[in-house]
Symmetry: C2
Subunit: 457 residues, 2 copies
């Protein structure tokens, strides 16, 4: 049985991919008879440096975890061996299934802190112990989708291919980087397994070692052209990029004489803007305007914007390390906090770590200045001209409204296309477009006051 | 069947977690009859910022991949559908097994750029197409082990616990972060599944939401103490840390009256140095010197060194985001390059991307100034007083000399303990202790000259 939501893996069972304290608290809640319904919000407190918006991603893996969560006998035996859990709790855990409800901002949608991207409603223990995995799944994919959107915007309609697997943080990251960056608008990935599992287009050319394995560059190009008569992209910078381009012209003309066509060349080093222009001219002068130029080599959104501003001739970009690790902002500080229980709305007070109480909805109004969002309590009426962002994606422990990657990708493309320049600029961050409803603001204020009173009796 | 080397997962089959170009080149090599023996080195070109040394890790996952590599029928069908591979190659791939030899610097050993941490010798195609996965597995674990070693050194014999799962880049990263940081000297992890799969000690206390789920802090502490009479660590900073410590004293005294003992408290916010000292004094004055203090909250090696320098009272530290993402240096630029084929040693010339030709051994001499390493050609005689770092870990496609995590961890502990201050300082990076043997240097020089000549005819 395959579990596509986790990527390529059949997890033996990922249920216990959680911080131990989830179980420690859960056992106590069970003993204290505190398993009544509660609501938890997964949200990001503040934008990472240089980010103007976030892109929702990772929901499918989160829902899959919830839907299939079970603790098997081997796990129970391990937990029993730790010597700190009650038999009653271990019996409860063996039968445990997630039965709750989830609302979420769909994958591919743009959102902003501190909007809940996921809201989990269920018995307290069920909603609590899934915290670690939900954060792990959502934090990383939101991070890569948000980075990917920037790279895609910088490339201005040129294709961007995910080249990150060798630098991603492990195997699961390589799969999720391909998926999340595809949602964000990349045209494909170099990762064959991601292509197979997710139906993402795959791209690949050759390494410098291929060229070096032949007596000279021209022999290498000729062999490759012979083996890939319709699909050859030649790497031309192993020795000297301009000489490489001339060798590629020779091979392209030999191919043309055979009725074949050289697809393109890749340049992976050097001063990409002038070099790519020279290469473009060499092909154009040789009557080969259809040969594509793919640029790669330590690229990110800043370098892509820079080389394009300097007139680079590029049809596509391969982006690796910076994309899969979100190198300039490699952590996404998503948190998962209780916002309501049987006593009503809950609030956390710590400075800089405050939470918004109660079950919520996020309402978006499209304006000429971009999206304007209002975080409101769930029971409040829809503000005029607004669309709700949070939709019901799981009921009674079963996922509802599954979407295809293509739907998520189309949503993201539409949203990015509608963003005004203030949000797509790579260097400056506009003011937050998020406000609170008057009722939510009043509730938060009242709770602050009440809690302050309780703390200083 | 479980595959512990990959962490928690039974990979459905990770063979195709590779860049497409590996297969593109491999098909061409097969057609061109170029599957003769070759040698590839996996090495890091330069230290990441602020790093003085690297710690080897990730070897087990790499060897597991090589040992179990096979492409199944579903994968062949997918590849056939891409329409670019020859039938002969797909037949070859279906029967493909890795039959080569691997030498490596054992996990837990300290090493330096540009020493090969892994050397793969096998038929060219076999050694080439495993590139992506080997880099993915080794890059991340080396990165975390190297970061973890810094955190462990900064904590000076106090325990460090991996708290990173919620911020790691996906599920596999959470498992590998626990493993690699344990090799580096952490005392355990919060990740239950890593504890179960790897036999790593697990640690967990409670979240602020636990405290907030009771009418007041004292009720929460009392409930927790009742449920965990031997193992309770109370989180005391939800409302006011000093008041929290006083509440913990009340509970500790109630426990003592019942013949139980409070294990410790955790402080997750505030100015940790003075606050932890105050908390320590509160417990000491109350006759509770055995109550441990665990500090957490956005810690890394710099903050740990700083709070200790300012007199923090800490028995242990929980370190999350910064450890699992190596936040200040989130990418490890390991590369995998051909260094020898049937024509002899190979070299790459590009500026800043040069490679060292030929099969190698790395020789280490321990001096009072720390390790002094020499990279030599494999056939050279052992220099006097030196130990070889590269050992044979796979022969004819089968792993040899498997080690336990405890052996790797003990090795790392011994090596870190022997490092002079120049290498353990967190801010400054000493000069590289790595040189080349005269023979390797001469070979590299001669090849540079020959290739330069070839490039400028």
């Amino acid at each position: 049985m395959t579990y596509p939501a986790f990527g390529f893996v059949t997890p033996r069972n990922m249920a216990l991919l959680m911080d131990l304290y989830e179980l420690v608290m859960a056992d106590s809640y069970l003993r204290e008879d505190m398993n009544e319904p509660a609501t938890f919000d997964l949200f990001v407190r503040t934008l990472p440096p240089r980010r103007s918006f976030l892109v929702s991603a990772g929901l499918e893996a989160a829902l899959h975890y919830l839907e299939h969560f079970h603790v098997d006998d081997e796990m129970i035996a391990y937990l029993r061996g730790l010597g700190q859990f009650s038999d009653a709790f271990l019996d409860y855990l063996r039968r445990f299934r997630f039965t709750g409800e989830v609302w979420a901002i769909p994958e591919g949608e743009i959102f902003f802190p501190p909007e809940p991207v996921l809201e989990v409603i269920g018995p307290r223990i069920e909603a609590q112990i899934v915290e670690t995995f939900l954060l792990n799944a959502v934090n990383y994919q939101v991070m890569v989708a948000s980075k990917g959107a920037r790279v895609v915007l910088a490339a201005r309609e040129r294709g961007v291919v995910d080249f990150s697997p060798r630098r991603d943080h492990g195997a699961d990251a390589a799969m999720k980087a391909a998926r999340a960056s595809y949602i964000a608008g990349c045209v494909g990935t170099s990762n064959v397994l991601a292509g197979m599992e997710y139906g993402i287009p795959v791209y690949g050319t050759m390494a410098h070692s291929y060229i070096m394995s032949f007596p000279d560059e021209l022999s290498a190009f000729r062999a490759f052209a012979r083996d890939y008569p319709t699909n050859a992209i030649l790497l031309i910078d192993t020795y000297d990029t301009i000489q490489g381009a001339r060798h590629a012209v020779i091979v392209a003309q030999e191919m043309a004489a055979r009725g074949e066509q050289l697809r393109g060349v890749r340049i992976d080093s050097g001063d990409l803007a002038p070099v790519s222009r020279q290469v473009r001219e060499i092909f154009d002068s040789a009557g080969l305007p259809d040969v594509q130029i793919l640029l790669s080599g330590d690229l990110d959104e800043y370098r892509i914007a820079e080389v394009l501003a300097r007139g680079a001739a590029a049809n596509a970009f391969g982006v690796g390390t910076a994309l899969g690790t979100s190198e300039d902002a490699p952590t996404m500080g998503g948190v998962y906090k209780i916002v309501e229980d049987r006593h009503g709305p809950k609030i956390k007070l710590s400075t800089g770590k405050a939470t918004l109480p109660g079950r919520k909805q996020v309402w978006r109004r499209q304006t000429s200045g971009g999206p304007r969002d209002t975080i409101a309590l769930e029971h409040e009426a829809a503000p005029r001209g607004c669309e709700p962002l949070l939709v019901n994606v799981m009921a009674q422990g079963r996922a509802v409204r599954p979407e295809s990657l293509q739907e998520m990708r189309a949503r993201c493309r539409a949203r990015l296309g509608a963003l005004p320049q203030a949000f797509t600029d790579l260097q400056t961050v506009p003011p937050s477009p998020v406000g609170l409803s008057r009722e939510l603001e009043a509730l938060q204020g009242a709770m602050f006051q009440k809690n302050e009173t309780r703390r200083r009796p």
